[in-house]
């Protein structure tokens, strides 16, 4: 297949030449057919489960149990599932927002400042400190859960959203600090030296030059961290003790078994709400999301 495409290269560049022979075109399409089939299969594999989920969110319990699973729903205006799902998902969404947004803000401010201090400022021990942060990327979450649970319990924070905000902030820092340090490495030090010589304090040159300069990088990192925190299950599962503090993911997990019998329609609608929210972000920021996550992997 690859060979065919490679030898095609001169052919494609010749397209500007007048009227390519029709027979050659046929042969070319035929040779590329297996490739097209692969792509078609790939797209079906990726999109069909999601499409099936979406169609299911409009079906009634009866359609689920007695109808064909691949059939279209009887009505596309059956929003009953959504309103039933929303009655509990709304609280979960609120909890997720109340934990993820403050944690994200803290991660960005603290992480960017630390990245600046580690990369731009000159002092002894900064390499060691950077390595110390790096160690945090490797530690499994299981290693810190139990002591944290004990502390939150003793401080009577269990039953509030504070344990989640605090733990999220800390777990997001290592990667953020590391990535910010890498981004600051690309900025010539003279920029900050000049600002300092002109009489700005270092703090000031961070606030009015360093931070704004990193706007783009910050948005990318914030996006990456948002997905990590929003999709987290382990931490949310450990530190939420009752239904009132459940985040979207924990709530969704408990949603299924709520009434003993699985209520398919509302469950599908609840999963769909979760998926559609992410889709809404992805539609606008997909290129940035892809670049950000790939960069996080390569550097981490």
């Amino acid at each position: 297949m690859t060979m065919a495409i490679l030898t095609d290269r001169p052919a494609t560049s010749r397209h500007t030449a007048p009227a390519p022979k029709p027979r050659r075109n046929h042969a070319r399409t035929l040779r590329r057919l297996p490739g097209y089939l692969c792509v078609a299969l790939l797209l079906v594999v990726v999109t069909y489960p999601l499409l099936w989920l979406f169609l299911g969110s409009f079906k009634t319990q009866d359609e689920f149990l007695n109808g064909s699973t691949t059939a279209l729903p009887d009505s596309f205006t059956n929003f009953g599932n959504y309103s039933q799902a929303w009655s509990s998902v709304a609280t979960y969404l609120q909890n997720s927002l109340l934990t993820v947004v403050p944690a994200l803000a803290l991660i960005i401010v603290l992480g960017t400042a630390a990245g600046f201090a580690l990369e731009v400022l000159v002092w002894k021990g900064r390499q060691t400190t950077l390595l110390l942060f790096l160690a945090g990327i490797m530690i499994p979450g299981q290693m810190i859960l139990l002591p944290l649970f004990t502390v939150y319990f003793e401080l009577h924070l269990t039953g509030t959203l504070w344990p989640l905000v605090i733990t999220y902030t800390a777990t997001g820092l290592p990667l953020t600090v590391f990535m910010m340090a890498t981004y600051f490495r690309a900025v010539p030090k003279q920029v900050f030296e000049a600002a300092t010589m002109d009489g700005a304090s270092i703090i000031r040159s961070f606030v009015s030059i360093g931070f704004p300069m990193m706007r783009n990088a910050i948005l990318t990192i914030a996006l990456v961290q948002f997905f990590f925190l929003w999709n987290d299950l382990l931490i949310a599962l450990t530190f939420t003790t009752d239904d009132a503090q459940r985040t979207v993911q924990v709530g969704l997990l408990n949603f299924t078994g709520r009434f003993g019998v699985v209520e398919y329609g509302p469950t599908f609608a609840a999963i769909c709400i979760n998926v559609l929210l992410i889709l809404a972000i992805y539609v606008f920021l997909n290129q940035r999301v892809m670049r950000g996550l790939a960069a996080g992997a390569v550097k981490g």
């Binding site: 060979m3 489960p49 945090g136 800390a170 703090i203 999709n231 993911q249 999963i271 992805y282």
Partner: protein, 294 residues
């Protein structure tokens, strides 16, 4: 010259808060967790000194080798699957779709950012046997077979977990490896093609060797993630049937919170950490040797 950027007070103000939060919430608990391995009990029941009992239990516990083996098996199978499927997709992107593939890349990447819980519940329903017959079983029945209760046997449950994890992450590895493949100079490929290299020869002698660095970093990233996998398995199979799909992460969670034994839970967490460290060191030594030769 650098001395203007060497102000200690500024370092403390900028770095202090992050370092403090990080130390208090991650480093201190990590050491504290090491301390727990010598105790038994939980925060509710109180702790009692256990000496080395947790470690001798670790050696005798029949569930531990099982969970350890599942962790390793899972990490190897999923890592291989993710990287191989991702690499095939990347080859498809580079050589077949080329610049036109942006939409395909974007679509295939979408499941990567979906919440694991949502994907797990979707797959649970997609492979369901009863009371609703999911699409997979419906298709088997349409071809004359009889439906399979996918979550009833260890082998099938593992298969569904593997398929799910590859489905939701292949787009990520494809984009990562695609970026690596794009770095290979076009002239080199054309020169080899003109010299008469066939497709497989071209892939084997030029594409694979030149994309080796990015392949290795994908492997490292993947194995690090799969050794710590928790969400997908917890949400999809809950470790079952029985404890057939229970990795160390889940076993630690159950021991600590279902049975309220923080001491033994910490000992399992330590086992997991040591495993991650060993694998990382092993990979780094392996890759250093590679670059030394190249």
């Amino acid at each position: 010259m650098h001395s203007v950027l060497g102000d200690r007070r500024s370092v403390a103000i900028l770095l202090g808060p992050a370092l403090l939060v990080y130390s208090l919430v991650m480093l201190v608990p990590m050491l504290w967790s090491l301390g727990y391995t010598f105790f038994t009990g939980s925060v509710i029941t109180g702790f009692t000194w256990a000496g080395g009992a947790n470690f001798s239990r670790l050696l005798e516990d029949p569930a531990l080798p099982e969970a350890l083996w599942f962790t390793v098996e899972y990490a190897l199978v999923i890592t291989a699957g993710q990287v191989v499927v991702g690499y095939l997709l990347a080859l498809l992107y580079v050589f077949f779709l080329r610049r036109a593939g942006s939409i395909v890349r974007t679509l295939v990447f979408f499941p990567v950012i979906l919440p694991t819980v949502a994907v797990a519940l979707l797959f649970q329903k997609f492979f369901e046997y009863a009371p609703q017959t999911g699409p997979v079983n419906a298709m088997i029945e349409a071809f004359g077979g009889s439906g399979v209760d996918w979550f009833a046997t260890p082998g099938n449950a593992f298969l569904v977990v593997a398929l799910m994890d590859i489905w939701r992450s292949m787009g990520f590895y494809a984009v990562l490896l695609y970026a690596g493949l794009l770095d290979i100079p076009d002239e080199m490929m054309e020169a080899a093609a003109i010299d008469g290299a066939g497709t497989w020869r071209l892939i084997r002698s030029i594409v694979v060797p030149l994309s080796l660095p990015v392949l290795v970093s994908s492997l490292v990233f993947s194995i690090n993630g799969t050794l710590k996998a928790f969400d997908s398995i917890y949400a999809l199979t809950g470790g079952g049937p029985g404890s057939a799909t229970t990795p160390l992460t889940l076993y630690m969670y159950q021991t600590s919170f279902a049975y309220g034994d923080y001491g033994y839970g910490s000992t399992i967490a330590l086992t997991l950490t040591v495993l991650c460290l060993l694998v990382t060191v092993f990979i780094f030594r392996g890759t250093r040797r590679d670059t030394g030769l190249g």
